[in-house]
Symmetry: C2
Subunit: 400 residues, 2 copies
């Protein structure tokens, strides 16, 4: 049933309250490393750190989130201070001797794990762009631009971001590489100018929609050949419903900005396919990985229910509803909302659990890890409240 304006407002308020009264206070209280700079992000259920290693994805994402809360939601001094704590840490320890961002550093910034991928540079780029806007400090924008250069320089080299296969064997396009190009360029565009942004976004959207999306199979494939054909074997059949909805969220934003109704429709189709492929008819919730050909799970964690998948599904459903008014997206929003809020939320300690078993019971009680930080959940809460509450302009997220 279509929601009334009051319904939307009530949901918006709920998401806003959750952001500012549960999630933000948890990370403000437990994550800031006043001793060594940066953030502690491997946190028990109650916020106690269980590890002090610093994974750079999480450092950069948290800088971005604090800076964005300051820029877009509420210019509270504690948000800016929190952003600065991470930004200065990244300024000091963000680059290794080879000019790459380490995958992880020790608590004091000593490089620990070498680069595993190019996403560390992506998150650094968006972090420093938002921080540059918050503070006006020129070094931050410079660091962002350099990180963007590194990402683009490595993104299209065959396998340069994946050293595990022999050169030339079974080359593949990664959907992740392309959709992050869209998301990163969109975010940087909010903060500074670069002649490459539009072209990078266009080309990445084209790659995704013409090579990864296959209408005949109603699916978005994570890996395809460079000319967009199927890769034999499980890798070629792998669907990631969470990546599907997240990616289409960014593409919908772009389509909405351009008023490209055809692209809106195509992205909305992929959102529906992803939700339908991922939804677990037996237990509810969205599966982590799905094989395009069969229901059979082939990954240890494939049938788990993850917070980020559900967070991104809420954003995509809300955005698709906002852009199209189609009731089916509101139905999906409410279906995902009720399953998610009932199981992931921790009303005792704040924040949300990240990892549930297939049946919806909590598998890991931790609140932060090397993969879970202050990012997907607060970003989703922020975006959904803005979508539902504010008759928004494209580039304005809306204050709580």
């Amino acid at each position: 049933m279509k929601p009334t304006t009051d319904d939307l407002g009530a949901y918006g308020q709920l998401y806003c309250d959750e952001l500012l009264n549960s999630v933000v206070p948890f990370w403000l209280a437990h994550s800031l490393d006043h001793e060594c700079g940066g953030y502690l992000h491997c946190l028990e259920r109650d916020g106690t750190p269980f590890d002090t290693d610093k994974f750079m994805w999480m450092q950069s994402r948290e800088v971005w989130m604090w800076a964005t809360l300051y820029n877009d939601i509420d210019p509270r001094p504690e948000f800016l201070d929190a952003a600065r704590l991470g930004a200065e840490f990244l300024r000091a320890y963000g680059w290794d001797a080879q000019g790459r961002m380490p995958f992880a550093v020790e608590r004091d910034g000593t490089p620990f794990i070498k680069p595993r991928d190019i996403f560390s540079e992506c998150f650094l780029a968006v972090a420093m762009a938002a921080y540059g806007t918050a503070t006006g400090e020129a070094w931050a924008e410079e660091m962002s631009r350099r990180a963007y250069d590194v990402y683009l320089g490595l993104a299209d080299l065959p396998k340069s971001h994946d050293a595990s296969t022999y050169t030339g064997v079974r080359p593949a396009l990664s959907h992740g590489i392309s959709f992050i190009k869209v998301a990163m360029s969109q975010e940087l565009r909010r903060h500074y100018e670069d002649d490459r942004f539009e072209g990078v976004i266009d080309l990445a959207i084209d790659t995704i929609m013409s090579k990864h999306v296959r209408a005949d199979q109603q699916a978005l494939f994570e890996y395809v050949t460079p000319d967009g054909r199927a890769i034999p074997g499980p890798m070629g059949r792998q669907l990631s419903p969470g990546h599907g909805v997240e990616s289409m969220g960014f593409i919908l934003l772009e389509a909405g900005r351009r008023g490209d109704d055809q692209l809106i429709d195509r992205a909305c189709d992929v959102i529906l396919w992803s939700l339908e492929a991922g939804w677990d008819d037996e237990w509810g919730g969205l599966l982590y990985f799905v094989d395009a050909d069969r229901a059979q799970n082939r990954k240890l964690e494939g049938d788990m229910k993850l917070w980020w998948v559900h967070s991104e599904a809420l954003v995509a459903a809300a955005l698709a509803f906002k852009l199209t008014g189609r009731e089916i997206f509101w139905d999906w929003f409410e279906r995902v909302h009720s399953w998610t809020w009932e199981r992931f939320r921790d009303s005792d300690c704040g924040e949300w659990y990240g990892y549930l078993h297939r049946d919806g019971t909590v598998a890991l009680t931790l609140k932060g890890s090397m993969w879970k930080g202050f990012f997907h959940l607060p970003r989703a809460l922020m975006q959904v409240q803005a979508l539902l509450r504010v008759d928004g302009e494209d580039e304005k997220r809306g204050r709580c």
Copy 2:
């Protein structure tokens, strides 16, 4: 309650029947790649292949298993033919241009994934040693010796087997590297002579018992500093109950061979600690990973129940009972046996499931994957039936 000779005989017969009437027929029927050589080992519940990539751990392990069935259990021509199919494939495609074994090759042998670790060489060494005994072909022993050289040459170089960390940062000893030295050298010793075997075994056992095992914490730590101290953080607290019992099984074999009662007692202690740390009081079964300090699980797959952990626990408990006669090991054998056989066995299609949820329900219905092959289960069935049925000599496994 202590078992009677009849009890032991009945269990032995059960394990023997399961090996020869369920597990062996499944792999004979579904795994042999008569078209391209080697083995298909990514198999659905009913044996249908879902992937044709060939992971070299699995190729070598399967060669070893067929050759060992032929050598030790029953010299059936089909066992030797099955061993030959894999051995000739490894002879042709086992080494890459850099003189290492690829981690995976495509169905036709084209190198696909580069070396990730040195265990591929370990399993190649034992495969070719057993195959050399089965056939008397000199090239097989030569290939085994070369693989042993590669393993030993790389095993002790700091981080040479793990390129993920920056040089010199947080050096660690890996329990896996050491216990595989014991297992590999023990197996090779059955097939040919090498002056290094005894020294490698002695040193590896000493490293494990003096550096990885800590009596004050009643635990075997997977990673410690080179001088045997605790590594801060979750990596340093990680216990792997499956590795614990598997490792102690090899050490018990050595201690039994030498008549070293003190080492038998120490290894038996570690088996008990591992079983107690791993046993899930809520749902039963053995957890995959445990943190030494807390019950809290921090890995996605940490609370799953895996076939190989339970297989190795059965071997260790049976062997410890055989060597000591202590009732507690028989109690553990029966406890693990009944939980395991009830949940992992697939009486409809043969073979066993590999991956259960914490609550014992089947998470993945597949019978083979890049990590599950024709190895842990048949080896355990073979070893347990020999331990329980035969008043065995150390070096003789006992025919079914």
